[in-house]
C-alpha cells in the first residue's frame, strides 16, 4: 500500500472512531462513574512504526477535536498527547524476543492475549488517570475520581477488546 493510501486509510479510521464516539458512545455511562473514551482506539491501533513526532501531533489533533465537542479546553488533548508519548515506551517494554516484524501491528491475534492486555491496560489506565485528574483540576475528591478512573478503564478496555475481536483480521496479511 502506498503512502497516500496509508494516509487516506488513517483519515478514514479517524473519522470512524471520532464519529462513532461523538454520535453514539459519548453519552453512555456506567453507573455514572464510567465512560467509554472510544476515540482512543484510533490512537492505540495506529501502526507500530509511526514516528514519534507524527504520533504526538496526531494525538494532539484527536484530543483537541474531542475538546471541541466536550467544551473542555484542553483536557482531552493533554491526556491524548501523554498517551502518544508513552506509547513507544510501552511498545519498547513489550518488545517480543526477536523484535517487531515489519508486518506486526497492534492486533490481539498476532501479538497474543498477554501482550495485548498489558498494552491496553497500561496505556488506557495511564490515559484515564491523567484525564480524570486534569479534569478535576485538584486532588479534592480522590476516592470518587479513582473510582471513575477504574470504571472507565474497564469500560474503555473491554470496548477496545471487543473492537479487536470483531474487526481485526485473525490471519496475517500475506
Amino acid at each position: 500500500m502506498g503512502n497516500v493510501g496509508q494516509i487516506l486509510l488513517q483519515l478514514l479510521r479517524f473519522a470512524l472512531y471520532a464519529g462513532v464516539h461523538v454520535l453514539l458512545i459519548s453519552r453512555l455511562s456506567l453507573f455514572n462513574v464510567g465512560w467509554c473514551l472510544f476515540y482512543l482506539g484510533f490512537l492505540l491501533f495506529l501502526p507500530i512504526a509511526t514516528p514519534i513526532v507524527l504520533l504526538l501531533v496526531i494525538s494532539f489533533v484527536t484530543g483537541f477535536t474531542m475538546d471541541l465537542f466536550y467544551d473542555t479546553g484542553g483536557v482531552h488533548a493533554a491526556a491524548a498527547v501523554l498517551l502518544g508519548y508513552l506509547r513507544p515506551w510501552v511498545l519498547k517494554l513489550l518488545t517480543p524476543r526477536d523484535g517487531y516484524d515489519a508486518q506486526d501491528s497492534v492486533n490481539i491475534h498476532q501479538m497474543g492475549w498477554q501482550w495485548f492486555l498489558v498494552y491496553l491496560v497500561l496505556l488506557v489506565g495511564i490515559h484515564h488517570f491523567a484525564f480524570f485528574f486534569l479534569e478535576l483540576g485538584s486532588f479534592s475528591a480522590i476516592g470518587l475520581t479513582l473510582l471513575k478512573v477504574l470504571a472507565s478503564t474497564l469500560f474503555t478496555g473491554i470496548t477496545m477488546l471487543i473492537v479487536q475481536l470483531l474487526f481485526f483480521p485473525a490471519k496475517r496479511r500475506r
Partner: protein, 308 residues
C-alpha cells in the same frame, strides 16, 4: 550549529511532547476563565451542526422520555389556562401597551419554576430553545442550545425550564448558544428561602447533579426540611421567586457561622430537553453600572448575584 540540530533531532520526542502538553494546559487554564476564545467551543457553527445531528440521533433513543416530559408540561400549562378557580388567575391576561382591544386570548405569562414570566415583554421576549448538547458529570458543566443571536439570545441571559433555574447564557453565535449550568464549580446564585425570605447563595460542589449547597444561612435561623428555595431579587439575571429547589438536609459544622444546607434541585438535569431563555430584569444594566461604580461588586463578568 550541526550539534544543535543533532541535539534537537535526538530529543525531538520529548520536545514536541512538552510543547503540545504546554499548549493543551494553556488551553485548559484559559478555558476555566469564564469567557474564552470565541471560536473553540461548541457554539462554533461546524461543531454546532454536528452536535445538532447528534441530537437527532439521540432523540431517537429518547423519544419516550421526551414525550413524557412534554405531556407533563402540557398538563401543567393547561392547568394554568383553565383553572377552575377564576379568582386566582393572576397575570393571565395582562394587557400589552398598544393593545386596546382587550380581546387577547393567549396568555402573556408562562409559569416557569412557580413564577409567572412575561412571554412577550417588548424588550426581552421569552425565547424557547432546545438543548442539543449537555454535560452532567463534570466539575464544570455546560449546555448548548439551538437558539442564538438570530433568535435574540444574548450572553448573560438566564435560562429556565418549567421546573426551575437551569443556568446562564455564556456565549452566543448566530444559531447556537452555550450555557453555564447551575452545575458549575463557580456557580454563585443568589437565592432565598421562600418561607421567611432569608437570603443565601447557591453553590455547587461538583459531585452530585441532583443537589446543591445553600450557603450563608445564619446559624440562628430555623430551617425545615422541604423548605422552598427560590431566586432572590438581588439577582439581575432571573426574575425574583423562580424555583431553585427544596431543602433536603441541613447540618451545623462546629467552626462555621452558617448552616450547611443541602438543596435538592428542582430541575432534573439528566432529562433536560426544552428550555426558555429569559432577558435580563428591567434596567439591569443601569443597576450593574451603579453597583460596580460604588464598589458593591467587582466588575468581573459572570458572577451571578451578590453575596450577602
Amino acid at each position: 550549529m550541526r550539534n544543535l540540530l543533532a541535539f534537537l533531532f535526538r530529543y525531538r520526542g520529548i520536545l514536541v511532547f512538552a510543547l503540545l502538553e504546554i499548549v493543551s494546559l494553556i488551553m485548559l487554564i484559559r478555558n476555566s476563565a469564564y469567557q474564552r476564545a470565541a471560536f473553540f467551543n461548541s457554539s462554533n457553527a461546524y461543531v454546532g451542526r454536528v452536535l445538532e445531528f447528534r441530537t437527532q440521533v439521540y432523540d431517537y433513543f429518547r423519544l419516550v422520555d421526551v414525550n413524557k416530559a412534554l405531556v407533563v408540561e402540557n398538563a401543567k400549562l393547561r392547568q394554568q389556562l383553565y383553572r377552575s378557580d377564576l379568582a386566582s388567575r393572576l397575570h393571565d391576561s395582562l394587557r400589552v401597551p398598544g393593545d386596546t382591544t382587550g380581546s387577547r386570548l393567549r396568555p402573556d405569562t408562562l409559569i416557569l419554576g412557580m413564577q409567572a414570566v412575561l412571554t412577550r415583554s417588548s424588550d426581552y421576549p421569552l425565547i424557547p430553545a432546545r438543548v442539543i448538547n449537555q454535560t452532567l458529570r463534570r466539575v464544570d458543566n455546560y449546555l448548548t442550545l439551538n437558539a442564538g443571536s438570530n433568535q435574540g439570545v444574548q450572553p448573560g441571559m438566564g435560562v429556565l425550564t418549567a421546573t426551575g433555574v437551569v443556568g446562564r447564557v455564556r456565549q452566543v453565535s448566530a444559531h447556537y448558544a452555550t450555557v453555564t449550568s447551575v452545575l458549575h464549580s463557580k456557580t454563585n446564585l443568589s437565592a432565598k428561602l421562600q418561607r421567611d425570605n432569608t437570603f443565601g447563595t447557591i453553590k455547587w460542589l461538583g459531585e452530585d447533579p441532583t443537589h446543591a449547597l445553600l450557603d450563608y444561612i445564619p446559624r440562628q435561623n430555623k430551617l425545615l426540611r422541604g423548605d422552598t428555595v427560590v431566586t432572590s431579587g438581588y439577582n439581575a439575571v432571573f426574575p425574583e421567586g423562580v424555583m431553585v429547589g427544596t431543602v433536603d438536609s441541613f447540618t451545623q459544622e462546629p467552626d462555621k457561622n452558617f448552616w450547611t444546607v443541602r438543596v435538592k434541585l428542582a430541575v432534573d438535569f439528566s432529562k433536560l430537553s426544552y428550555v426558555y431563555v429569559v432577558g435580563p430584569q428591567p434596567r439591569a444594566a443601569e443597576r450593574d453600572t451603579l453597583e460596580t461604580r460604588s464598589g458593591l461588586r467587582t466588575p468581573a463578568v459572570g458572577e451571578e448575584g451578590v453575596q450577602p
